[in-house]
Structures are given as C-alpha cells and as structure tokens.
C-alpha cells in the first residue's frame, strides 16, 4: 500500500488516529494508553500486516520523551512510523516485546540509555552500561563529572 492507502486503512481501524504530515513514511501519533491495542492492530490487521519492527528510538525533548517505532511489512513491503509521547518525569509505556520479539532488546537499549520503563517487559535490565551504572547517559540533563569533559 502507498502512503495515502495506509492512512485510509489505519483511520478505518482506529478512527481517532492523528497523522503527521510531510514525512517520508505514514506517521501516526498516539497516546501511550492505546499503544498495546494499536500495536496488535497494526500487526494483525488485513492489508497492514506490519510484522517487522526494525527500529525503536527514544527522543529526549527536555519537556517530554517521544518513542518512535518503525514498522514494516515483509508481506506488503510498506512502512509505518508510530510516535508516542511520554511524560518526562515518569516515562512509562507498555512493552511490545510480546508482539514483536525484536523489541525485547530495543526496549532494553532505550531503558539503558534513556530510562524509559517498559511495563511487562520480560527482562528489563542494563544492556550496554554496567549493571551498577547510575543515571541515563543519553538524556539531555545527564551529568557525569568523572567521565565527561563538558564543552
């Protein structure tokens, strides 16, 4: 499906969807509360079949976090991007590792570097940083006077 067809199909399934304009891929912005149902819909719905989660990103905007999920379909060869806005003081979102298995490591990385908590994740612990590491290194307000030379 092309960008417009995808938009129509997603609107059909989830009428309250908000789309971002001027993007390369169809981009949907949703609330964290509806994320699980939405994700299952994208994966299972006929015509969408987004069976491959190829990138999970977190962005620190200082006022809030944005989780960005890049999904593609190995059957239909189309791509959809989902953005979820999270609270800066309490960044919590449900895991999708049971829907796309690859999310298990991607979410561990986002937890490790941004401190985003994924509820119901089977194994949410540090991935790159050592187990005893304090803090979330990729956050904009991160300070480390021992290892970091500020410029």
């Amino acid at each position: 499906m092309n960008k417009e067809e995808l938009k129509v199909r997603i609107e059909e399934l989830f009428p309250s969807s908000v789309f971002e304009e001027g993007t390369e891929w169809t981009t949907v912005v949703i609330d964290p509360a509806g994320w699980e149902g939405f994700a299952r819909g994208l994966r299972g719905a006929e015509g969408l079949e987004l069976d491959y989660l190829f990138c999970v990103t977190a962005i620190d905007w200082k006022t809030h976090f944005t989780m960005v999920y890049h999904l593609t379909s190995t059957v239909c060869r189309h791509t959809v991007v989902v953005k979820v806005k999270l609270d800066h003081d309490r960044p919590v979102i449900r895991t999708v590792s049971d829907i796309w298995r690859t999310a298990e490591f991607h979410e561990r990385e986002a937890f490790d570097l941004f401190g985003v908590v994924f509820t119901d994740h089977p194994d949410l612990r540090r991935l790159f940083m050592t187990d005893e590491w304090k803090g979330w290194p990729l956050r904009k307000d991160y300070e480390d006077p021992v290892n970091m030379i500020k410029l």
Partner: protein, 171 residues
C-alpha cells in the same frame, strides 16, 4: 647471497661479512643483530575497534601491502603477536580487555596508537561518558599516528618509525 640486501628499507645489515672458504665470518654486535631481526618481523595482533581498523585492513591488503616491511603475519592471539595496533576508539568497557591483551603478549612488545581516538579520544574527547581519552591511559604507547582515520601511508610510516625505534634501542 649478499646479506646486506636482505633489509627491505635499504638499511644496511649491521655488521661486516667476511667470506672465507667453506662459509664466512660475521663481525657485528649482538644487540644490533637482535634489533635488526626484531624490527624486520613484527607480527601485529588482529585488533580493531572501529573505522581505523578498515584502514588497517587496507594497509594489509595488496595495494599498500605492509608485508613488504615484515608485518604480514597478523596473529589472532596475543601470545604470538609483537605489536598491537590500537585501531579505533577505546571505550571504558573495552579498556580492561585491551589491558589483558597487552598483558598476554610476550616481551618484547610494542604499541601503536592509530588515529585520533586511540591518541586522545579524538572526536569523543568532549561530552562523552563512555570513551577513554587516549589509549595511553591504559597501556604504554610507542608510536602515535594522527588522522581520523589515518591513511594507509600514515600507518605504514608509523610502522617504519617503530622499526627505526627498535633498531636504535637496546635489545
């Protein structure tokens, strides 16, 4: 066969060969012969942590061919390597691994810090939580190479500088 032609970069063999019937007599200093042998068969360790490793592989390849200077036998074990080329960024998690590899190498051993990261942390000097600001915080370095990454010619120059250093030093 003339021994003096054996040295690849036109440094004469350190000593005099006097041919006699049934062989010959060699007059030289033991230190110099040892240094001559060591400097002409430096075996590098297979070690690369980022993009500098690509340039290092290119230096090993046919076009630049570091085997012309005696470096062809890259070893995958520190026990058989003479020189470690730190080709890439050393992060805090890699530092103990690098230290252990260096410790496992048999003496005499040499270290080349290849590129900006291994020299000083390079582009990761400021605002980075994970990078060691220079591999010389972990192990002693003999030769530093500038560049990001250095061209193969620069690495070859560093290797030949190391050979020169070995020839001049005490064995």
């Amino acid at each position: 066969m003339d021994v003096s032609t054996q040295n690849m970069d036109n440094k004469p063999f350190p000593g005099e060969v006097h041919p006699t019937a049934g062989g010959g007599i060699l007059v030289t200093k033991l230190d110099e012969v040892i240094n001559w042998a060591r400097s002409n068969s430096l075996w590098p360790l297979v070690f690369g942590t980022s993009c500098c490793a690509i340039e290092m592989m290119s230096t090993a390849g046919a076009k630049y061919d570091w085997s012309r200077f005696g470096f062809e036998v890259a070893r995958a074990t520190p026990r058989q390597a003479d020189v470690i080329i730190i080709a890439g960024t050393i992060v805090n998690k890699m530092a103990p691994v690098l230290k252990r590899l260096y410790d496992q190498m048999a003496d005499p051993k040499y270290v080349i810090a290849m590129g900006a990261c291994a020299t000083s942390g390079g582009p990761f000097f400021y605002n980075t939580y994970s990078v060691v600001k220079g591999a010389d915080h972990v192990i002693p370095v003999d030769v530093y190479v500038a560049g990001c990454p250095p061209r193969p010619e620069a690495l070859l120059h560093a290797l030949m500088t190391l050979q020169e250093k070995i020839r001049r030093g005490a064995s």
